[in-house]
Subunit: 260 residues, 2 copies
């Protein structure tokens, strides 16, 4: 399996604190040794850092913890390979373009019969993972449904939720996907989230001896949501998502969900 991490914020915010915890799970406090990647959006542009090496020992991962890139949306993934060998083309997140936006996708789980059940035509995978295949299928379906006309975000991501539900029938499909403005998460069996806003407090990482006082790092107007496979801090209350639940975040706020 793998671990996912995402952030959605209303002001450009760095993810150094959360990433410092997560990267330890890539070969140190966790077994996810088969590569890692992180994508930062800055406006409509994005940049990724990726390494097929374990994050706990990667000089690029160290740079990411030390160089505070400020972003309103971040997608991150550390991999424990189950489908597709360990190589760069199988390393998440995957980024492709649609409607003049960068779409970034990371998946945790495993899918059976994906080649038969998710036929693709337009968006052809580069690597051999079930994850990238499902991403390509999802983009194909978005194209069939909406063609050249990008719909409003709730219509769009409600449809992504429907597609995710279909993919989930093939196995385990915890998903994080972003178009730079929205961050969408779909839970198959394991996903948590937390929204931090004023009054900010202290937080203590589970995987590294690092504490942060968010009061010192933020202003009263900041709203920052973090989504992760497992909680990253042990002194805050994380929301556990239910199987089949999805949440749509936009600039830090939850704007839609199927939660009853």
């Amino acid at each position: 399996m793998c671990e996912l991490l995402a952030m959605s914020a209303n002001v450009p915010t760095d993810i150094c604190f959360s990433f410092s915890g997560l990267m330890q799970r890539g070969g140190n406090t966790g077994p996810h040794r088969d590569g890692w990647g992180i994508t930062f959006y800055e406006g409509k542009g994005c940049r990724s850092f990726k390494d097929p090496l374990p994050s706990a020992h990667s000089p690029i991962a160290r740079l990411v913890t030390e160089y505070p890139i400020k972003s309103e949306a971040v997608i991150c993934h550390i991999r424990q390979a189950n489908s597709g060998k360990v190589c760069l083309e199988n390393t998440h997140p995957f980024t492709r373009q649609m409607w003049g936006r960068n779409w970034t996708y990371a998946h945790n789980g495993q899918l059976a019969n994906f080649q038969q059940e998710l036929p693709i035509k337009m968006h052809i995978p580069i690597g051999t993972t079930d994850s990238e295949h499902a991403f390509c299928w999802l983009l194909d379906q978005l194209h069939y449904k909406f063609a050249e006309q990008e719909p409003d975000e709730v219509t769009l991501f409600s449809f992504v939720a429907k597609l995710s539900e279909r993919i989930r029938q093939l196995g385990v499909f915890n998903l994080i996907i972003s178009n730079g403005e929205c961050v969408f998460s779909f839970c198959s069996n394991n996903l948590h989230w937390i929204t931090r806003r004023a009054p900010f407090g202290l937080a203590n990482l589970i995987d590294a001896e690092i504490k942060v006082d968010f009061k010192k790092e933020t202003t009263d107007k900041d709203i920052v949501t973090v989504v992760a496979t497992r909680p990253l801090t042990d002194d805050e209350v994380w929301q556990k998502m239910q199987p089949g639940q999805w949440q749509l975040f936009r600039f830090g706020e939850s704007i839609a969900s199927n939660l009853k």
Copy 2:
């Protein structure tokens, strides 16, 4: 204007030496202060490092010079903005997917009336540069010409050459583009290349006090071609390309050209 750098090699080779020279032109020995980017192919996968900051002062650029990523194809660009503001989405190289491959593109020059003259439909730009627009148009044209069927490489890049000639009518269009296996270069007014092979010798960078003895870094079978806007070393013979000339490299060797 901007500066381009590319590498094509028959064995995974690092570009630390050449990049150490080029990065100095981004705000130190040259005026190209408006961002930089480099894309490394490793098999079918690729990873990019990008920064809208000057390369001469970028911690990410320093990492790239110190961390020897071994690659068979590299595309690099340092930017002096003339079309489109300085931001991440306008920072080259641009990467998009076609036929299950990553295509990476960087342009030096300036194009007039590109929005009217190069209509696009399928591949929609994310930023506002003439460069990305021309890349999107080029991919649209490849799709119209070959649809789902990727042709052999000489047919494919001969057609890219034809498209480049058409784009060049709009201004200055020095191009480097790669699908991971081939590196194609098209000269509008300024592009040089060199192929290094046994017997290897010494080389001295123009832009930094760095010398290398390639004999110590290579084996007798290595073949490495470097393409650059201006020569990077002052004690080797670089081939100057002529306006309208194109060269196709594959794993270090020149395999096709329109040179008479």
